[in-house]
């Protein structure tokens, strides 16, 4: 959005008459100086154009080091600074601050990573390492000349939050935010909030009553002046960006007004009777009903699909007549609500695995094979059997029961991941049975028992002490005795290495947790990414576990991964805190690495619009150009890479700047070198990790940092080849893990196009390599470079010459 552009910014940078650069080579004790001749590098730096002063010191990051820079900026009128030391991922902020304190715009600072990417990975080749260090400094100097001063723009945050999903996670997040004083919209698809926890009988490991501890929270949420409860409602559309989301919510009619006193008279007379979802079909409900006693809101609801009154024709008026408070109104229409919120918390929860497909267990075939969720309703005093462990076939309390673990989890029949809660849930359930019917024989068939949490192991021990029989090895098959409807479980005890055949009255399948079948809707609406398992992916698995790649959107509960109540609540509070921070600030600053449009160049072709993962570039037909929604932009730069007419000026990673780096790195014996473009989040970090772990690899690789591999325009690669580089490596995050949702998909497309082009030109396409490496995969980076070394060796001068004329010839 052009109006966001700070006025005091010159674009593109009008060069001052005299550029005065200060270069500082850090020894980092011996970390660098050990394998790089720092004085030599400093001496070399002083010879570079515009370099006013060049110094080397032991610890540039130390206070003295920083003071020196500040002093020099003032005394020598420096207007650019380069520090050659560790990874910018570590100390760039430090030095930027120093510059700013000395009155130099922090965007006029550049770093050369001569530690992680040089001294540490070339411990035993001081000479070559020094040469590499010089190259890296030369590149940094080349870039710093072209840097523009920038002011970070600010986006205001609407101080309202949307919580999607009214399970315990959603409730907790909503309550925390509301208590902080923010208005919260809590959207729930079902008629009542409460979610899975409301269905469960007891919670582990404390064994307290689930609904008893949940109900108060539910009514708090229902009563809270700052919470607007939108039940029976669905999020239909989300537009906007961090701090400024416009959300469309469809509020489906209940056909019962707030006047409902929940007396239930309507339900009694309703002729429609169906299985109750809340009781997993073990009990019935009527066409007009409340899902469960503690429902919030307590207002009854008409099941639109089953009620006899359709198309506005009231055929049955039994409930209307029965309702003393005249609270039933069949004229209610669906409402489209438009909410404006600053932050969104996704707490959409999870589904339960349906074991029907596992035919060897006979679920749906044998009535006494039930799921752990059905068990929860059976053992629940408020449930259909009033807490009596009736087995469905004959309503008798079984003498022996079996729990079967990992149903749908940790197996290619179902899901590969561990559902995290089933082990403890089974142990809890087994103990519950013991509590009420001590003589019941209880078997638990498991793969491993995972009792990792606080107080879990004690519970497990207690269960064993109570005489519950744990057998390692899941039954291969369950068969039914036609007469008694008892069940035979057959399988192998993998500890005793012997076969077993156990007879029980009822078998409980400990079913796993799976992602909501319709997760893709929320994923699309909020531009989230999902893991291979299908759960929503966090921004960083360790350091930003409740954030999502989309600014202002956070995760809580099972939507992110299977977890128990405690973890869900913890995560919910965390998400609320994260959202709260944003709203408390009231604004966010956007790093000045977002693109600026050079209107005169833009042809409004719309290619950039297609590739932007954040819909931050929109076509402006009237003005024949595109508009950039700064606040929505994350600065990956893939738009810039896509633009055929270089109309997008990717601040701090401009074409000119990157080209200059390429040129600098290919100034000397390019034909021996590998030019590598690494994305800031995975590949570059991976290279840093290689350095930290002192992995040694050939010295001839020169790494250029971009925010995303998606920034790497084909012309950068071509420039490298034209300059005679022997090989080029483009490296980014694994597909699906992209820090910018899916920008790296564009990378792949571009590289493949380049490969085709090289083939057409009769070039060895192996000279261009594409690598996916995560921040943890230093090894992959190192071995890739080694692997490419052989390619470099194979490149003949003719090939180099040939590739020098790469462009134009397409």
């Amino acid at each position: 959005m052009s109006e966001d552009q700070p006025q005091n910014e010159i674009k593109p940078q009008a060069k001052e008459d005299e550029i005065r650069i200060g270069v500082y080579i850090c020894h980092c004790g011996l970390n660098i100086a050990g394998s790089v001749d720092c004085e030599d590098v400093a001496k070399f730096a002083s010879t570079l154009p515009h370099v006013a002063i060049s110094k080397d010191n032991r610890y540039t990051c130390s206070d003295q080091g920083q003071d020196l820079i500040k002093k020099d900026i003032k005394e020598h009128k420096l207007n650019r600074v380069v520090v050659a030391s560790c990874s910018p991922r570590l100390h760039e902020p430090t030095f930027r601050r120093a510059c700013e304190e000395a009155g130099l715009n922090k965007y006029l600072f550049e770093m050369a990573n001569i530690r992680e990417h040089c001294s540490w990975v070339h411990l035993y080749e001081k000479e070559k390492a020094t040469e590499k260090a010089k190259d890296l400094v030369r590149a940094a100097v080349a870039k710093v000349v072209l840097l523009d001063p920038a002011v970070e723009s600010e986006v205001l945050i609407t101080r309202k939050a949307l919580v999607i999903g009214g399970g315990v996670a959603g409730i907790q997040a909503a309550l925390d935010l509301a208590d902080t004083g923010y208005k919260v919209y809590l959207v729930e698809r079902e008629p009542s909030i409460g979610g899975r926890m409301a269905q469960i009988d007891k919670t582990f490991p404390t064994m307290d009553c689930s609904i008893c501890i949940l109900a108060p929270k539910m009514s708090d949420a229902g009563r809270h002046p700052n919470i607007e409860l939108l039940t029976n409602s669905e999020v239909q559309d989300v537009k906007g960006y961090i701090g400024n989301f416009k959300v469309k919510v469809l509020k489906k009619p209940r056909f019962v007004t707030k006047d409902c006193s929940a007396c239930g008279d309507c339900s009694k007379v309703c002729p429609i009777i169906v299985p109750n979802e809340f009781d997993v079909g073990l009990a019935t409900r009527h066409g007009i009903y409340t899902p469960f006693a503690q429902a919030v809101p307590s207002t009854y609801i008409v099941d639109q699909n089953l009620c006899l009154n359709k198309e506005g024709i009231i055929k049955c008026d039994k409930c209307i007549k029965a309702c003393e408070r005249k609270a039933i109104n069949f004229d209610m229409k669906p409402e489209q609500l438009e909410l404006e919120v600053g932050t969104i918390i996704v707490a959409t929860g999870a589904d339960v695995y349906d074991p029907t497909s596992l035919q060897n267990y006979g679920y749906r075939k044998f009535s006494n094979v039930i799921t752990s969720l059905e068990f929860e309703r059976l053992i629940n005093a408020g449930g259909p059997s009033a807490g009596h462990l009736f087995r469905p076939s004959d309503m008798m309390i079984p003498e022996a029961v079996a729990f079967i673990q990992c149903v749908g989890s940790r197996s290619d029949r179902g899901h590969l991941y561990c559902s995290n809660v089933c082990c403890m849930n089974t142990i809890k359930d087994a103990l519950l049975i013991k509590e009420h019917w001590p003589d019941t024989k209880i078997y638990v068939f498991y793969v491993d028992i995972r009792a990792f949490g606080k107080g879990f192991e004690d519970l497990y021990k207690r269960a064993r002490k109570e005489g519950i029989i744990f057998i390692r090895g899941l039954p291969a098959e369950i068969s039914e005795d036609r007469k008694t409807h008892n069940l035979w479980l057959m399988g192998e005890n993998t500890l005793q290495k012997e076969l077993y055949k156990v007879n029980v009255g009822m078998a409980i399948l400990s079913v796993g947790i799976e992602p909501r079948r319709d997760s893709d809707i929320i994923q699309r609406l909020l531009v989230l990414s999902r893991t291979g398992d299908g759960f929503f992916m966090e921004a960083h698995p360790k350091l930003r576990p409740v954030d999502t790649p989309t600014g202002g959107v956070f995760l809580a509960g099972c939507a992110e991964a299977p977890k128990d109540i405690k973890d869900s609540v913890t995560q919910a509070s965390a998400a609320a805190a994260r959202a709260g921070i944003l709203m408390a600030k009231g604004k966010v600053t956007v790093e000045a690495i977002t693109p600026r449009l050079l209107d005169e160049k833009c042809k409004a072709c719309g290619l950039c619009v297609k590739v932007c993962p954040y819909n931050a570039v929109v076509l402006n037909k009237d003005l024949k150009r595109v508009d950039i929604i700064e606040a929505a932009c994350a600065g990956c730069g893939t738009c810039g890479a896509e633009c055929p007419s270089s109309a997008l000026y990717m601040r701090h990673f401009t074409d000119e700047q990157i080209m200059a780096q390429v040129d600098a790195l290919t100034e000397q014996d390019a034909d021996k070198k590998i030019i590598a473009f690494c994305c800031n989040w995975c590949a570059y970090a991976g290279a840093d990790f290689a350095g930290v772990s002192r992995m040694q690899y050939p010295t001839n690789v020169r790494i250029i940092r971009t925010m995303c591999s998606g920034r790497v325009a084909p012309k950068f690669v071509e420039r490298a080849f034209e300059r005679g580089a022997a090989a080029v490596l483009v490296a980014g995050c694994h597909i699906g893990d992209c820090h910018y949702i899916n920008a790296n998909v564009q990378t792949q497309k571009r590289i493949e196009r380049l490969w085709k082009k090289m083939e057409r030109l009769g070039l060895n396409k192996e000279r261009l390599q594409l690598l996916w490496a995560s921040a943890a995969e230093g090894e992959r980076v190192a071995s890739k470079v080694k692997e490419m070394q052989t390619i470099v060796n194979g490149v003949t001068p003719e090939e180099v010459e040939k590739s020098k004329k790469m462009t134009g010839k397409a």
């Binding site: 506005g312 055929k315 004229d331």
Partner: protein
Amino acid sequence: MVVETAHPLDVYLRETGMHHIWCTGCGNGILLNSFVTALKELELNLDKLVVVSGIGCIGRIAGYINTDSFHTTHGRPIPFAVGVKLANPELKVVVISGDGDLFAIGGNHFIHAARRNMNIQVICVNNFNYGMTGGQQGPTTPLNVSTSTTPYGNIEHPFNLVHLAAGSGAVYVARWTTLHVRRLTESIKKALQKDGFSFVEVISQCPEIYGKSTKIGLPVDFMNWFKRASEIQHFSDPAKAEITSDRIPLGEFVDIEKPTYETLLRERITQVQSKMQGGT
């Protein structure tokens, strides 16, 4: 002679009402059913209820309902009802008549009774034509429909009755089709309990006559049309409630409070009399 099984609503009907003259599927019967159901549910004192009707098929309804009732001349049920109501305000006076009776020949009486906010209830069974005389064009016949008196298609714009009623000052205005019989009954109940001039329009089918001239067809086809075209929107603008072949706007259109003629009259009378007492 075999004794016929009694219908629970028979007690509200005269013997003639149980075997009315109306054709197969005629909406009048549904209105009769709906009206007496409303009486039953309100537990009204039938001794204090007067049903007044005009001329036309529906005019017979007064004779069918087991209350005091009067079958007036064509177009005149409203002024008759006004006389009854003013003479004995204790009585509930309901006018049930057709679109021709109330809005062609009787139109003047309707608008003035509404204007005066006479405390009477008017139910109009609108079947879009004059049924009893054999399907002539009437004040509600849609444009272009051919009837026995518009053989080349109707060139008159029809009345939008709810708009007319609202514009004339009715305090309660609702419109339902006979298919929406339960809502109709509710509206009739509401009207009966309302103080002031209330108007309920019943979009009704005339399968024998109108159904044939318009080729809508069998009674059930009529109902299907109602189902297809109905649009329930309470308190929408009556001006936009014109009926077309693919849109029948339904619902409550007006529900307001306004002093009735009767109330104001009694006020004046008391004023006058107390003044005289003071004077004499």
